[in-house]
Symmetry: C2
Subunit: 313 residues, 2 copies
Amino acid sequence: MMFIDRLIEKVKEKNNPTVVGLDPKLEYVPGFIKDKALKEHGSGFKGASEAILEFNKKIIDAVYDIVPAVKPQLAYYEMYGVHGLNAFCETVKYCKSKGMLVIADGKRNDIGTTAQAYSSAYLGFTETSEDAQEEAFGADALTVNAYLGADGIRPFIDDCSKYGKGIFILVKTSNKSSGQIQDLTTQDGRKIYEAVADLVNEWGEEQVGRYGYSNVGAVVGATYPEQAKILRKRLKHAYILVPGYGAQGGSAKDAANSFNDDGLGAIINASRSIMCAYMSEMWRNTFSEARFDEACRAEAVRMREDILKAIGK
Amino acid sequence: MMFIDRLIEKVKEKNNPTVVGLDPKLEYVPGFIKDKALKEHGSGFKGASEAILEFNKKIIDAVYDIVPAVKPQLAYYEMYGVHGLNAFCETVKYCKSKGMLVIADGKRNDIGTTAQAYSSAYLGFTETSEDAQEEAFGADALTVNAYLGADGIRPFIDDCSKYGKGIFILVKTSNKSSGQIQDLTTQDGRKIYEAVADLVNEWGEEQVGRYGYSNVGAVVGATYPEQAKILRKRLKHAYILVPGYGAQGGSAKDAANSFNDDGLGAIINASRSIMCAYMSEMWRNTFSEARFDEACRAEAVRMREDILKAIGK
């Protein structure tokens, strides 16, 4: 089945247009997980990577039946070297075994055969001989950066069609300085983020699924609600992956601007607020190992309700 | 010592402004290396990764005393999963042990703490506890994509200063469709690649070394010689990393446009022509295991002479 249809059906099934970001900094991992991992696997990258893998599994266990997808951020695994990448690989497998979709947040970009290599790594398969291929990381979707134009995007799109995968192209990012390049106005009056949105339309046209959305999605930050409103109208078929809700300052009302009237069209990410729910005001005084799941799940439910209310569902 | 000064001194020492791209596709690896690796480590990712590592080592052995730097392209390692990343890690170590500088070609980009995580992975160190840190991949420099603006670049620049590292920011890439975004003209009359070049100037200003060049470099493809001429003038302190020479169609004369009159200011990459020299017309009929090094080195020498002649040195 097409990625975008799988995503939408999961969202409908759970009545939940949110995604949990798995950006497992070691400082987020509660002591009871970290101490055990470091004791068993040493205090270096191996121990740290085991700690973040266990942390991820705990979070997934707490929410897999109510949240449709996760978004692990590759940087937080790469920083622990090969062991970290192994934790990423195991995290992807674990999420999939629990029925969650995995959006690898790697913002990859390159040209031609190199873009193909990235696509093989995250969305497809890699040939190891004339008659054998293996899956490297096996995510369901990948975030990509389109600064290099179509040459850098085409290999990913081909694999989307071949393997039922998806991509989300950076259009307007959630950070403060995102305007330095993205908000420049071209001579025909378009902002750069609008020009990129137009390319997303063009590239996504050919892979529209049964709900009218494409495997070629877009990233638009909740921290720019006015631009999100403009982009929601401009993006014909793109599902919008929305970072910037919660810790970064975007509200549910802001995030709501990326949805269409059908209640679809956007999926909202939260990372820190869910991963670190156990540290919050509400939980930290009564926190115990047994209540980690409870804190995590309660925040995921709160977020779902917050978003559903904002989009009037 | 600053990265840019280390790079320039290596270039002067070897009288060679080129860099060997290590993009080791399995199909490039000669049979005598591949067969041995697959026999010893199996035909899956482990065998493939051992094969590309041995291939890289052979190339490095052939050229390390005449070429200042290598540019391994991360995608070609990521496609072999965790084993591939291990081959990347070992390749970096091997190059450094031979005195070569390593420019990791990852085109990474993200914001704030995530950009910091990428920077820790490739340029800096990662904390594993309050009083311990480890190096994940330990490259000397990294290519980065600036679409997200200063928030996405600042963490890398800080690590450049802290650890003597460098970055090369994508300005005008070598591929056919690079103009789709990069050639758009803004209302103040600048092309987007010029606007990015202006940001490179701004960001690089604070880290200029003893030769007048900055740790913050730029990527400009040899396939766009006219734009390279404009950008060479516009980029005040940036060293230019030039892809697109050779297999992609850029000539030495084209590449020469990225140099300044001091004979410095650019470093030209070639990947396939050197890695696959043994397959070329000149070598393939007389090829033997013993002559692999010879083919590789002869092409590296030919390229050096080609570039030096074009810049009149």
